[in-house]
Symmetry: C2
Subunit: 748 residues, 2 copies
């Protein structure tokens, strides 16, 4: 199975054996037959799979479907066009189709032993071997970028091509003549490996997902072409120093819990080369114990990706396309490999939702387990993922209501709280932002990325200019903006160099509570936010309580937006609408993209804004107003001459000329609007009052309901032990509690 | 079964028998047992249903579900509150719940013979009998309206209460004592009948859906309380002249094909009393042959309601809540009764989609047939429904692509073309408007009604002021507006007095084609529109071709809006966006609600606008531009101080100072945007040219595709026979065709 397991004793020995093996491969191409395939699926896997496609079951169904698909594609002539188009364009998409087709045909050859599939892969690779040496860098490469490809506009895609195509080549090796092998390796694989490694050192060595694809492709090619040096370089940097490379990427790109610092959208993307190359390493060199590396970080990366979702879709923080979810092919592969490793039947429920069997050895295990009805509910958890390589650079916090521990549960709730680190180049300037999910939908929302993936007419399908001018800016998120400037003044280096401090996280049955603080987003300003998702069974009510404390040395303007999804219904204060003409709210930092639809100055006391989501539920945010603060109503769309942005709505709490302010609010889901069945219930809020007590150690929020019942949530502002005593006074009465918080009904 | 079938010979005889029967009922309350129930379900039905609930099946499942629901509600004390609230408010909803609960409990009594259900109905009716005589008209009645209720704010709801409650009473009569009967009839049923008939003559006699509910309630009460006079009044007007009443409503409110002149939203609502009372008439007086009346108009009304939908939702023309669809309870009852009458297995597929078995005799038939797997595909048709009582007041035209003849087919297409009559008070000023549906979704859209049904905070849940100022106005639709004035100057009387002339309708396999004209919407201006939904199998392409000819004596400004659903992607002409400030497009007639986002003056030739729908498909409208016409890009939301309107987008083709103009365009669905699977295909239009030939008799549109292929669609502008010869010249070549149209590929 493994051909250089036993040859690692000394450099000299290695050299001798490598030379010998290389000569052997070149001399007897038939040798390859006994060793192939040797990456994600093994010869033993193939033997099992050949049996499985003879018996009814979901594996056979998938096999037949893929065979039909490949057979249909084989009716067309092979097309290996000269690269011309950027992402989404014809040649780009054709080369993508080619590597997928080669991979699938290669696997079909292994399963059916029908030579026509091997011949397709051979013929296509021979065309690539003719084409590749003639190519310069891609004509549509991004200006100024140091990562051009040749087949594709960027080396990232080129590496993806290699990851698929080297597996296809591995599958069909037994069917190739020596001459064909030489031609293919000399014409395409050796040049592309060279291009992606020694000729692209910056990208190859970078601790970044592009680097992962490049090292994975090169490392896998190393196993197939019998070039252990490539594997070493892939694992430890081109100079084998360990400063870059795959292992360094596993060390640094994930937190100890397996959170990827760019957020779930890129986490699932990054996952693919990690799990694919890890699996190939395990096949070839099990003694590296890659799946045990860093306390099982590869597996944690997979399960964390699952956790970073609500109702099947990933939390769209940072640069993210919002329709991406757990059925993404990368996570299908991840769940499949994770099940192969662990046999955890909860993963089968996720596989059920993904509804995509893959044709690998682990895919067969998943298919057979699903056919046998072994799936059990996957547990979605409330969890704080520490951020950064050591897990101490802030955190990404998920709070869920108990009813939500089912993947497809659409009547569950989640709060995403983001005192996380910057997340490198795809990160947004959104320290301490939050989102709220209920009844299957995003209610308090994150814009995600401004991008129409691969739509040529929209800025070539790349990130739109508005991604930088709006989507990354602080005002496009649900967190405090000081003086209309973004966090870190939108300076990436400054963002990367600083992070919030995650203070505490409580995960009790009816109380999920978390707090974090940052004093580096703005000079001289400390931002501290505490969010609680609480359940009051007696009131049959869940609530999100939000306490955002701002402390600064000098006077500033503080804006706290709520980007909501749905139709505005009502406010308990007068709106002053800009009826006939409306203007952009500001000139820069994202404000230039917001139309100011209306402004209001609510009276001191409780201000309410109610909206209705398409999910049929009403949402009311009740907030404590001082009487001189404003609420601004905005819509995205100003300074957007090409209509690149979605026209979504927000309201912004604004206080001016202030040094210290606490934004206190409660978000309350309520009622139902059912125009189809023609009923409307509980369209108005039940919260009638809010009060806020703040002393040196404790913050308390008092919530009064229309029926007169009162509840208090109090918490110690610092992380404390379970026995630590705290106290506060409310309406002349003293309250004491132990531990982090108190949730109590106030008896009258 | 029927107790006054044989007593219609002479008034004297009737009187004698009525007196006798009344005495009989009063004397022996047990008598009722043998006659009850006698409305929608009969004693024979009940016997069958009692057997069915003993056997497994969907009927038993529904029965048990309803029993659980009623049992749960019976844990609460009976509440018959003094009326206080308008629609959506507490007392309104409580009285609605009460009549539904009484109806369900009454049926459960019949099925289980468990007296507790009968006692619930009795006790609740006794409370109503105490309350009703104390009531004046409702405190929340609409100011100035002549249709107040007592239990509810309008007599409409009061009549609905009666329709349900009289059935409940009928169910439990066998369980009532003479004293209880007297109390209930004297306290509630006789007063409410009096209130809804002789005390509400205007509404009762009105040929209108309110009138149908009133006559149905009163007529059904007539059967149960043995008051044939009430039945006569219900059928023939209070004065029995036949000028009003139920039969007159059947004559006038439906076209000969069963189209209800207010459109599908009100058609399904109107349906309920028609089918319920008709069924009660059939039970009691089959000799009236009510289901054969007017060539089976009741049945046609039901099947037409089904046809007036796409992907399960009704076409939202006129005042319509857009989420209403074929699973509405009224149509569940309609389909159930229609299946009982016809045994048409296609209806079972609709029942399957509705997924709501009802507990009636016909409901049992549907349940048993569904259990037996008898459902067959329901045929959705391309059809022109003639409008008005005689079917000649214009038409509502549905054109479907062949693939769409399945109810749940989401990849089918439909064009709705509306050269229909005004549709009374709920009609919109939208002559010749159209909508387009594709891949399950509305693509070229109709705003529907501006209303949040029963949401108190939104204008009491009634039609919003913006319904009149925007949703009813012409500019909110996809049809020509002259000089920024609405059709008929938005004068309802003028609208009701005039209607378009429907010229022709062609329903061939690859060509659906229809044309209509109106010269009364604007004085001195003739509007003629021809719409075609064509399929070009060779191009693998469907297209909508739109030819809108405007002819006037004087110079005017003509606006033709396209209200689209989705995200703007691209245009092939420069947009001049209002970046920093934007203003309302106009001052009145709906224009005051449109923000002018951008304007453009495309060069002469082909102008293209492409947008992307959430369904993942791109849509391009290509139009012929003269070089001096404008395209304006708008968004709804100006002059909307309470944020009552949805912020949807449109673009408006505008020509100024013109007497004669033809707006020629082609709408082309294309490609796929799949960010989840990360691919984008055919994001750009394949139409490269459009030309237009117009002679006295024939209009021809030439469409050129990027691949050089050319197709011509030509049609004779008048309705002609299949043998009628027409001819036209195109690019110097003469073409001849027979019949209405020619669709031909031009060979080069």
């Amino acid at each position: 199975m493994n051909y250089f397991t036993r040859i690692t004793s000394s450099p000299k020995q290695i050299l001798a054996v490598v030379v010998f093996l290389t000569l052997l491969v070149l001399a007897f191409s038939i040798k390859a037959e006994s060793e192939s395939p040797r990456l994600v699926s093994t010869q033993d896997d193939i033997a099992e799979m050949r049996l499985a496609i003879e018996k009814p079951g979901s594996f056979k169904t998938k096999f037949e479907q893929q065979k039909r698909s490949v057979d249909k594609q084989m009716e067309q002539a092979i097309t290996v066009p000269v690269p011309a188009d950027g992402g989404g364009g014809y040649t780009h998409e054709r080369h993508k189709k080619n590597y997928k087709l080669m991979y699938q045909a290669g696997m079909l050859f292994q399963l059916t032993q029908d030579k026509k599939y091997a011949d397709l892969v051979r013929d296509m690779l021979l065309q690539y071997a003719d084409l590749y040496p003639t190519l310069d860098v891609h004509p549509k490469r991004k200006a100024g970028a140091n990562n051009p490809g040749k087949l594709f506009w960027q080396s990232l895609n080129e590496a993806v091509w290699l990851v698929y195509s080297i597996q296809a080549y591995d599958f069909v090796l037994p069917n190739l003549t020596e001459k064909e092998i030489t031609k293919i390796e000399q014409g395409i694989f050796r040049p592309i490996v060279k291009f992606l490694s020694v000729d692209s050192p910056a990208t190859f060595n970078k601790v970044h997902n592009h680097g992962t694809w490049l090292t994975s492709g090169v490392g896998m090619a190393g196993y197939v072409l019998n070039e252990p040096e490539w594997v070493e370089q892939a694992l430890y940097d081109l100079d084998k120093s360990g400063k870059g490379g795959f292992l360094k990427q596993l060390d640094e790109l994930f937190s100890p819990q397996g959170y990827y610092n760019e957020g779930p959208y890129y986490q699932r993307y990054a996952l693919m080369p990690f799990i694919t190359f890890a699996k190939a390493i395990e096949t070839n060199e099990p003694e590296r114990k890659i799946f045990e590396y860093r306390d099982g970080i590869v597996l944690k990366a997979i399960t964390t990706t699952i956790q970073l979702s609500y109702n099947g879709l990933f939390f769209p923080i940072n640069d993210a396309i919002k329709s991406k979810g757990i059925d993404t092919i990368e996570l299908v592969n991840g769940v499949t490999i994770a099940y192969g490793l662990t046999g955890d039947t909860g993963l089968l429920e996720i596989a059920q939702i993904q509804d995509q069997i893959i044709l690998t050895g682990d895919g067969l295990k998943v298919a057979q387990a699903l056919d046998a009805g072994k799936a059990t509910p996957y547990e979605f958890e409330s969890v704080a993922f520490g951020d950064g390589a050591d897990g101490t650079q802030g955190a990404l916090v998920i709070m869920r209501q108990a009813s939500s521990n089912k993947a497809t549960e659409t009547d569950s709730q989640a709060v995403l709280f983001k005192p996380a680190a910057q997340g490198l180049g795809h990160g947004h300037f959104d320290k301490l932002t939050w989102q709220f999910y209920d009844k299957g939908a995003e209610i308090v929302s994150d814009y995600g990325a401004a991008r129409f993936l691969n739509v040529e007419a929209k800025y070539g399908g790349r990130y739109l200019p508005e991604n930088k001018t709006y989507a990354k800016q602080t005002i496009s998120h649900n967190t405090v903006v000081v003086d209309e400037r973004s966090h870190f003044d939108a300076n990436l280096e400054k963002g990367n160099a600083n992070h919030p401090e995650h203070l505490f996280f409580v995960n009790d049955k009816n109380v999920k509570l978390s707090s974090a603080t940052i004093d580096s987003a703005y000079e001289g300003v400390e931002l501290t936010r505490t969010l609680a998702l609480i359940n009051l069974p007696e009131q049959d009510q869940t609530l999100v309580i939000d306490v955002f404390d701002v402390n600064s040395k000098k006077q500033h303007q503080f804006d706290l937006p709520v980007h909501y999804q749905g139709q505005f219904i009502d406010s308990n204060f007068a709106l002053n609408a800009n009826d006939k003409t409306m203007s952009a709210l500001g000139n820069e930092n994202g404000y230039q993209h917001l139309w100011l639809k209306a402004q209001a100055t609510p009276d001191a006391g409780l201000a309410r804004v109610t909206w209705l989501h398409d999910n049929g539920r009403f949402y009311t945010q009740s907030s404590i107003e001082t009487g001189d603060s404003q609420i601004l109503f905005t819509q995205i769309g100003a300074n957007d001459p090409n209509f690149n942005l979605r026209n979504e709505n927000a309201f912004i709490h604004r206080v001016k000329n202030t040094k210290k302010h606490s934004f206190i609010s409660v978000l309350e889901p309520h009622g139902e609007y059912n125009p189809s069945k023609e009923f409307t219930i509980s369209a108005t809020s039940k919260v009638s009052g809010l009060a806020h007590v703040d002393n040196d150690n404790v913050t308390a929020v008092l919530i009064t309901f229309l029926d007169g019942k009162e509840w208090v949530l109090a918490y110690n502002k610092q992380s404390v032990t379970k026995t630590k005593k705290s106290e506060f006074s409310l309406k002349g009465k003293k309250y004491k509690f132990s531990g982090q918080y108190l949730l109590q009904k106030i008896t009258k």
